[in-house]
């Protein structure tokens, strides 16, 4: 937990949230709604956020931590820029969703729940997303990819990487053009 490194954007987002806490009544009943707001904005709950919420609600940090770690929604590591969610609902399982998950894990060299070192990708499993007729399903960013196959995994990851490289080249070109 302590080794989470906050980017400057993370820190700015937290500062901004601090001012929004006053909208809430200081009641434990608001603990989960507040954590949800932070999760939504920062995409994970760094220790600084836990401390901030505890201070606001005037309860021990341990209580906030205990509640936050109970619920699936709250993450404690920053997700990748391209979060990958593999559906392991029942229909997807019957159609070998686990093989899709495994292929993403192998391709990216991380396990589910983890983020790649460059913070580009993260993998999570999710319960039914309700596209059972498209099983097996994976979601990358906000796009749902139905009828997934191991051979499509590589393509999806590669597409992101190619686009990133392209953007990088553009950026370099622009920079060198300006110089």
């Amino acid at each position: 937990m302590d080794d989470v490194v906050l980017t400057s954007e993370d820190k700015a987002a937290l500062e901004e949230l601090r001012s929004q806490l006053d909208r809430y009544e200081k009641s434990t009943a608001n603990l989960i709604p507040i954590l949800q707001m932070i999760q939504e904005k920062v995409k994970f709950l760094p220790p600084a956020a836990i401390k901030m919420v505890a201070g606001f609600l005037e309860i021990p940090s341990s209580q906030v931590y205990g509640v936050a770690t109970f619920y699936n929604q709250f993450k404690f590591n920053p997700p990748g820029k391209n979060p990958i969610k593999v559906c392991l609902g029942t229909a997807c399982h019957v159609r070998a969703g686990d093989i899709i998950l495994e292929n993403f894990e192998r391709k990216l060299g991380i396990r589910e729940g983890e983020t790649t070192e460059d913070r580009e990708f993260s993998i999570d499993r999710v319960a039914c997303v309700g596209c059972c007729a498209l099983a097996p399903v994976a979601i990358m960013g906000k796009t749902v990819h139905g009828h997934m196959a191991p051979s499509k995994v590589e393509g999806l990851v590669m597409r992101v990487q190619i686009e990133r490289e392209k953007a990088e080249r553009e950026r370099q070109k622009n920079e060198s053009g300006q110089n």
């Binding site: 220790p47 505890a54 021990p60 209580q63 931590y65 205990g66 770690t69 109970f70």
Partner: protein
Amino acid sequence: MVKILVDNKHIEAEDGANLLQTCLDNDIYIPNLCYLNDGQIPFAGCRLCYVQINGKPVASCTQKVAEGLEVQTDTPEVRSLQKAAFRLLLSVHDIKCKECPANKRCELQRIGKFLKVGLKVKGLEVRLKDPGLDSGHPYLLIDQNRCVLCGKCVRVCQKKHGHSYLTFAKRGFETVISAYRQPEESPLNFSECTACIDICPVRALLLKDV
């Protein structure tokens, strides 16, 4: 006052009193780990305090005393459930009694003796947490492989300080007792309050040598 019958013993108790507490008060031992006589809704987590009522096993900590209640504490069904729960607890327990500060005053040892179940479980895989020792707190050591997750420490702290500085953390099989890592806000300098350490039935909480 109402009359109840426990294993052929007539007992008088207050209507609505807690059955487990009533039995314990009358020298009838029922194995238990998580029960606290604090008037709150019972925790009912350890699942050891089973008794039989009307032919059905019932956790006695969740049962209220009522006129004419007939209770058996020693039926095959009850013992089978108690042993099953006990063996499950042992399958995640680091059994090193000789090195353990709780040796000879450990509730697990007492229950094992009572149920005539050896502490080395057979037929169940043993799975310990790694790392088992949580030493993140400046004063407190928590041995997760000794802890039985009865939650007494959390509740006793809550009662004494209005908020608990200890918490259950994570979920399911991964559940642990945690003090988190914010010592500066904790009032616990442990010279004044060692309630959590004192109440632990297996001495999973220890004071660090500082």
